[in-house]
């Protein structure tokens, strides 16, 4: 029941914020805060997540709700959370709350404030829904629900090139989403034909016995949607435009959370539904991951606009997630989950900083910046933390994530792990640009009263606390997804047959 409430509060809150425009910031704060408390309470009361039972592959849910939706088609309104979903839910609401707060001082939100918060809350609801839906049709519904408010956030409150950016974003995600819909429908029909039970339910579809060739096509449909949303190389073309043109509150949700829905989708749906096919795809995906890490870093270094730089850095880090997922090792899976959390926090921090600078300077061009330490030492200190997180400084969350992903990858593909490690050098090269070109050097203009306002300070303090916490005690994160990860590892390994052995790779076979 709690799960339904979490969605309803956001949806109703959004409508109320639209109606009572003057109060919309408070309404939004209240709605997200209540949800966050609900989710946290659920998370904290289950410190040790249920141990998976080896009888079936269906996880043990911590909370579950199921209503009839379209019984004729076998689709139901099925929400359920395990440790993984719950972790993502808490993260979504945490970042969502900070997005509401950081928009408080954002000048672009002064027009149509109520409508802005309506979109913001519905977007959060869509993301939360994606993390909770255990019915494939419902999952697709939420997947699309995220898209529309995001489209409006960019096209109404975005930067000067918002029309083009929002259209590009919409086309890419919508188009790729359609392939997922086709795959879902095909899976539904095939499974129905085989078993006579037509159902969209996750639990029913797990353990399907679709033929090997068909599974490959279905997985490709799913993966296309996820790779575009992540985004992975070479589907990242929409990213720099959408990230730079989006308002501050929107971009944090876009980069911090919507990209994580893709990673979540892979771990929750793509891999467990089609484990053999996933193993066959793995070599390609690993290569795409490494290509993304290095190519993204290269692009980030070349940028002269702060937001574009951060956008490409985010793309580069998504390569680690892809690499981790398809190296299929427990260490790497854990790393992926930690990266989902840590990257969400650190990229949110960086985009918030870019947004605050944009509000003060009316530009994000790096050429207009320099020497700001003098005027905003606090913001400089805060920036330093997130820059260091981005370049993977130990003690901050991203390090744990990248270490686990790379050492997991190293177990099976030494060469690709080594190549991906070069990304650690590259990330330092571009990340230092942020710090040095914005805050160091001679100041070109004098600013007054430019340092963090109290509310901004609070937001940044929350983010710093979170990233340090993940860095020095990631055990809470790791423990809550441990059953899920172990189960996934079992599924992926379990269905390895003799045929697989020579079809796919294992060990160091990518080059040998």
């Amino acid at each position: 029941m709690t799960l339904t409430w979490i969605l309803l509060i956001l949806l109703i809150g959004g409508v109320l914020a639209w109606i009572f425009s003057g109060w919309s910031r408070w309404i939004a704060t209240l709605a997200v805060l209540i949800d966050l408390i609900l989710a946290l309470q659920l998370w904290l009361t289950h410190p040790i997540m249920p141990i998976p039972q080896h009888t079936g592959m269906v996880p043990n849910w911590i909370a579950e709700t199921q209503y009839h939706w379209i019984p004729l088609l076998g689709a139901s309104f099925h929400l359920a959370v395990d440790g993984f979903s719950l972790l993502m839910l808490v993260l979504t609401l945490f970042i969502g709350l900070l997005c509401v707060w950081i928009s408080w001082h954002d000048p672009v939100t002064r027009e149509n404030t109520g409508f802005f918060h309506f979109h913001l809350l519905w977007l959060i609801a869509g993301i939360a829904g994606v993390f909770m839906a255990m019915d494939l049709l419902l999952f697709y519904f939420f997947w699309e629900l995220m898209l529309i408010p995001m489209f409006f956030l960019i096209s109404v409150w975005g930067g000067p090139q918002r029309k083009k950016a929002s259209l590009k974003f919409f086309l890419f995600t919508q188009f790729s989403g359609l392939f997922m819909l086709i795959a879902i429908l095909a899976l539904y029909l095939l499974h129905g034909q085989q078993t006579g039970q037509y159902s969209f339910d996750y639990a029913d579809l797990l353990g399907n016995t679709v033929s090997r060739a068909m599974a490959g096509w279905l997985l490709a449909g799913f993966l296309l949607a996820f790779l575009v949303k992540l985004p992975a190389f070479p589907f990242h073309s929409w990213l720099p435009d959408a990230y730079t043109q989006s308002p501050t509150g929107g971009v944090a949700l876009l980069a911090g959370l919507m990209s994580k829905t893709a990673a979540y989708g892979m771990l929750r749906f793509a891999l467990p539904l089609f484990p053999e096919a996933a193993r066959q795809f793995a070599p390609v995906m690993v290569v795409l991951g490494v290509a993304g890490i290095l190519y993204g870093a290269k692009l980030a270094y070349a940028q002269t606009d702060l937001k574009r730089l951060i956008a490409f850095s985010s793309f580069s880090h998504m390569g680690f997630i892809l690499l981790g997922i398809f190296s299929m090792q427990e260490l790497a899976y854990q790393g992926v989950v930690v990266e989902m959390v840590a990257h969400a926090i650190s990229i949110t921090g960086l985009f918030f900083i870019a947004g605050m600078l944009q509000a003060r300077l009316q530009t994000t061009g790096l050429d207009a910046m320099g020497g700001f330490w003098e005027y905003m030492p606090r913001m400089g200190g805060v920036t330093m933390v997130f820059v260091m997180a981005t370049l993977g400084l130990p003690g901050l969350g991203n390090f744990i994530a990248e270490f686990l992903i790379l050492s997991g990858t190293y177990q099976v593909h030494i060469l690709w792990a080594v190549l991906a490690s070069l990304g650690l050098i590259a990330s330092m090269i571009y990340a230092l640009v942020i710090l040095q070109r914005v805050f160091h050097g001679k100041s070109r203009q004098s600013l007054s009263q430019a340092d963090l306002k109290p509310l901004e300070g609070l937001v940044m303090a929350c983010l710093i606390a979170a990233i340090v916490w993940v860095g020095i005690y990631p055990q809470n994160v790791i423990r809550s997804v441990q059953p899920v990860v172990q189960q996934l590892k079992q599924v992926v390994d379990h269905r390895q047959t003799a045929v697989d052995q020579h079809l796919t790779w294992n060990g160091y076979t990518l080059l040998k």
Binding site: H236, P240, Q334, P394, F403, S407, I425
Partner: protein
């Protein structure tokens, strides 16, 4: 109560200092900042001394003490802990870090007075000491890596401390990125160890490694080589030595603490700490010795040609760490650690003395624009001289003699030693004397070329550290006397509970006299030569530099053997070029091109909707013709 239970407090004091200064530093008066910054290190130093005395008198079981604070994370049994490990090796290191660190902090309270970033300076320095302590106390390699990167961060922040000058920012960035290259090798080494041992606990790895790997095994080779990559970066050894001379852009106390006494010797610590891996791969261990010898020679020659007082010292540091690497490479583990300790005393002192000189000369770094400071700054002069003597290894009366002589002896006499290694070290020792006394004579002798603006001799906070370190540069060596004289070797005796003893070739001990005599002779020859060249007949050097060959040599050495230029062409330019050619992401053009193609087709077809009846009729006619042709002929 067992004093070792307080071990966690040693890094916690500096951390607390950092947090206080970082959060409230902007509003604190400068006196409070100085007290907070210095006291945090002072308390850590006192605690370390107390613990050290305890360790010497009543050592814990097995000569080590382990304190587990919490489990960092636990993935399927791979569970690195946040745990501290105290044994004689880490004890020596934390003693140097906290004690020398405290003196440098004390010095900084006066040296940095009036700087607008006073709080920021002490915050970063405290953070540095904390990270360095974590590095040496870490009981597993992942936590060690945390400290390792932490000190790199602080080094970056402090080199670029005066952030308004882009040159400082460049130097800071260079230091961070070049060391990061080594660090990446290091972390790949960690992946290898995780794969092999499923743990990163240092003692477990050292215990299991001989069982898993035979001597010369591939795994051990790669593990040792990759860790060496990290060590080479951090300790500014060939081929990653280029960052250290530029790192002198930071305030002088930073150079003393980070780029002389502590951080740059982290590589030595890492190799000594993981010595089993090196014993298992003799090839890599020989490589360590070769890197050491080459580095000490290259850096020594470069130091000879520098004008900037701090750059001379920087190259000298690279060179001296080369000696430590040489010692590690021939299996003289304790000699390396001994030289680390003595080097920390005298090199920190040299930097602090240089800081005082530079302060007196109003930020003038060029030694040829100084001169004659002996009379006006007697305390600086005498302490500087003591440290220089130690650096040049003047026999008997300086500490540097005992430590360097031991390395030279082991380079020849150890089972892994050879005449070539010894010869390299021996030539290096001669060059060391030359550049050291060149620096002393030019700075302190001759005519005074510039008036002293503000004489730091009146600053008690600056002079106390000089005197204390000066005394240590003299007497510090007496904890380890040469074998040939007496069997008084408490230092190596202590360390040999952790590190293996050096194995000598049979019958070498009797030769030690000759070697010592030889070194003594060249030291005095060197001093005499420099005295002639720079005090008595300075024209001689000028004349030599006017010759074409002399100028070429000078330029070559001055630029540090052109490594910067080489790397610029090999790495920096290609990377920048690569990023410039494709700034707008060629993949985007593919999608945009697809979009344009559609728009173009759209435009083409929409042009057919012209509204002219004759055009539509023509199209219909052609269409009919086409269809009929299709039906009739196909």
């Amino acid at each position: 109560m067992d004093v070792f239970h307080l071990l966690w407090l040693v890094p916690t004091f500096p951390l607390a200092g950092f947090l206080i200064l970082a959060l409230f530093g902007m509003k604190m008066p400068s006196r409070a900042i100085a007290w907070t910054g210095t006291l945090s290190i002072g308390l850590a130093a006192l605690l370390t001394l107390w613990m050290g005395l305890h360790f010497l008198t009543q050592p814990p079981d097995g000569h080590h003490y382990r304190q587990v604070l919490w489990t960092w994370f636990d993935v399927n049994g791979f569970a690195p802990t946040i745990a501290l490990y105290l044994d004689p090796l880490s004890l020596v290191y934390i003693f140097v870090i906290t004690f020398v660190g405290f003196l440098i902090h004390l010095y900084s309270t006066a040296f940095m007075r009036g700087d607008e970033g006073y709080a920021r300076f002490f915050a970063f320095m405290n953070l540095f000491v904390f990270s360095m302590l974590v590095l040496v106390l870490a009981d597993n390699l992942l936590l060690l890596y945390l400290g390792w990167e932490g000190v790199g961060l602080c080094s970056f922040l402090l080199i670029g401390f005066w952030y308004r000058d882009p040159a400082n920012g460049y130097a800071a960035r260079k230091a961070f990125i070049v060391t990061r290259i080594g660090d990446t090798a290091f972390i790949i080494g960690l992946f290898l160890l995780v794969k092999q041992f499923h743990t990163l606990n240092i003692q477990d790895i050292l215990m299991q490694a001989p069982g898993v790997w035979a001597v010369g095994a591939t795994g051990a080779f790669w593990a040792a080589l990759l860790l060496l990559g990290g060590a080479v970066g951090k300790s500014a050894q060939l081929p990653l030595q280029t960052w250290l001379p530029d790192a002198m852009a930071g305030p002088t106390p930073v150079s003393a603490l980070i780029h002389a006494a502590t951080m740059v010797t982290a590589g030595v610590y890492l190799i000594a700490r993981t010595h089993v891996l090196y014993s298992l791969s003799p090839a890599v261990q020989s490589l360590v010795a070769i890197i050491g010898v080459l580095t000490l020679l290259i850096a020594g020659f470069s130091a000879l040609a520098q004008h900037d007082l701090k750059r001379i010292l920087a190259y000298s540091t690279i060179s001296q760490i080369g000696y430590m690497f040489l010692a590690l490479g021939v299996g003289a583990w304790t000699a390396a650690v001994f030289h680390f300790m003595i080097h920390a005393f005298f090199k920190a002192l040299l930097f602090l003395g240089a800081g005082a000189v530079i302060m007196a000369m109003e930020e003038e770094h060029d030694i040829f624009k100084m001169g004659g400071l002996r009379k006006k700054m007697p305390m600086t002069y005498w302490t500087f001289l003591a440290a220089s003597g130690a650096l040049a290894a003047i026999p008997l009366i300086t500490a540097g003699f005992y430590s360097k002589d031991l390395i030279l002896f082991d380079a020849l006499a150890s089972t892994q030693g050879s005449v070539y290694l010894w010869l390299g070290g021996f030539v290096g020792a001669f060059i060391t004397v030359l550049y050291t006394f060149r620096m002393v004579f030019v700075t302190f002798y001759g005519e005074q070329k510039k008036p002293i603006a503000h004489n730091p001799e009146h600053e008690r906070a600056m002079m106390i550290p000089l005197v204390v370190l000066g005394v240590l540069s003299i007497v510090g060596g007496w904890v380890e006397l040469p074998h040939a004289w007496a069997h008084f070797t408490p230092f190596s005796h202590l360390l040999e509970t952790t590190l293996p003893a050096t194995t000598l070739k049979p019958g070498m001990e009797s030769n030690e006299w000759w070697l010592q005599l030889l070194t003594a002779v060249i030291v005095f020859i060197g001093i005499y030569l420099t005295w002639v060249a720079y005090v008595k007949k300075p024209a001689m050097v000028t004349a030599w530099r006017e010759t074409a060959f002399g100028r070429a040599c000078h330029q070559f050495f001055y630029k540090g053997w052109m490594f910067d230029q080489l790397y610029d062409v090999l790495f920096v330019k290609p990377v920048v070029w690569l990023s410039r050619i494709d700034e707008h992401d060629f993949i985007d053009y593919l999608y945009e091109g697809f979009g344009r193609l559609n728009a173009w087709i759209h435009a083409g077809f929409s042009r057919t909707q012209s509204g002219y009846l004759r055009w539509y009729l023509l199209c219909i006619a052609f269409g009919l013709l086409f269809i009929f042709s299709l039906i009739l002929f196909v």
